[in-house]
């Protein structure tokens, strides 16, 4: 029986480089240090477990950021399940949408985004902050492309309203 210490793990080997990237991806999207730390831990521990089981062929920083994105989406989906009753009573968005201003105050927009309900926040984060195509957003959220397009339209309208509130307060 061999019981040697594990040889240097490929995830541990790139930890120093990958940690600020993974945390830097999560923190602005989570809006809270404690959540960003939790999801960072989940990301690295899941990667190490997969690696110890010999399930990984290639470990890279980009791959770990992808794992982090999955963990973030899982977190949102868990929240969404808890809040389903809330989301159901949310008022329908009217179709009239104010045009966006020429120059978008992105700080105000991020602040407005943070106040949106989870499914809207998730859709907009993946679509715009991460720049994913709609089909990939749909995959992450476990919805059809059509349902995701509808969700994005509603989410943008909601963000526009919140953004209007935000800039009014800022003035």
């Amino acid at each position: 029986m061999r019981d040697e210490p594990a040889p240097s793990d490929p995830v541990v080997a790139i930890y120093a480089t990958a940690l600020p990237r993974v945390y830097g991806y999560l923190l602005p999207r989570c809006g809270s240090t404690s959540l960003a730390e939790d999801l960072t831990s989940e990301t690295f521990l899941a990667a190490v477990k997969a690696s110890r089981q010999g399930n990984l062929t290639e470990v890279s920083v980009a791959w770990l950021v992808g794992v982090a994105r999955h963990k973030l989406v899982d977190h949102w989906r868990g929240q969404e399940r808890e809040q389903r009753s809330l989301a159901a009573t949310e008022p329908l968005v009217d179709n009239i949408e104010d045009p966006w201003p020429e120059w978008l105050d992105s700080e105000a927009a991020y602040a407005a985004l943070a106040r949106l309900p989870v499914p809207q926040r998730a859709a907009l984060t993946l679509r715009y902050l991460d720049g994913l195509p709609v089909a990939e957003v749909a995959d992450h959220l476990g919805r059809s492309v059509h349902a995701t397009e509808t969700l994005l339209v509603r989410s943008k309208a909601a963000l526009r309203r919140e953004y209007g509130e935000e800039s009014r307060h800022a003035r």
């Binding site: 940690l19 600020p20 960003a36 730390e37 190490v48 110890r52 089981q53 966006w100 992105s106 927009a109």
Partner: protein, 170 residues
């Protein structure tokens, strides 16, 4: 198509160092993740007088898959997780004569057990194929079982769980 104004929200990942207590703690946790226990393969050796005949029997009648047959006196077969080694007595390491002069031989009473889903249907197929049965009627408590023999006379028990069957609890 006009540009989407929200494209301005694109947020490239900028590296951010977390608290060092957090970074160190996570690294320690990662280093303490254990490798899963190494899986080993349950293995049994049977002695057979005619290797080709035995290999055919285990493949055709009992659903084993041939992994290796590197020479005329040894073969390795698998059925699920079970590895079965077939050796011709006296010819090869594994089948070699012991220092006291005794030579391994097929037969005896110890046997492998093979669980089947539908014992009656399995028996019918084996009867049709002309397999030699050591007992005729299924018997047993908590399982139904029958005993058959491979062409060299090694017993093999087939069983089907019945009422009160005990499955592993841990």
């Amino acid at each position: 198509m006009p540009a989407d104004p929200l494209d301005a929200l694109r947020l490239p990942t900028v590296p951010i160092e977390p608290r060092s207590e957090f970074a160190d703690g996570l690294l320690r946790q990662m280093q303490s993740v254990d490798a899963p226990p190494r899986r080993t393969t349950p293995t049994i050796r049977y002695f057979v007088t005619d290797l080709d005949e035995a290999v055919q029997f285990y493949q055709q009648q009992l659903g084993f898959e041939l992994e290796l047959q590197p020479n005329p006196v040894f073969a390795m077969l698998y059925r699920g997780d079970l590895r079965l080694l077939l050796s011709v007595p006296g010819a090869h390491q594994g089948g070699h004569t012991l220092s006291d002069g005794s030579v391994p031989a097929p037969g005896g009473w110890n046997r492998i057990l093979i669980q089947v889903e539908n014992l009656d249907a399995t028996l019918e197929a084996l009867h049709r194929a002309g397999v030699h049965f050591l007992d005729e009627q299924p018997s047993g408590v908590t399982v139904r079982q029958v005993l058959l023999a491979d062409p060299s006379g090694n017993p093999i028990e087939l069983f089907e769980p019945a009422r009160g069957y005990h499955e592993r609890t841990r």
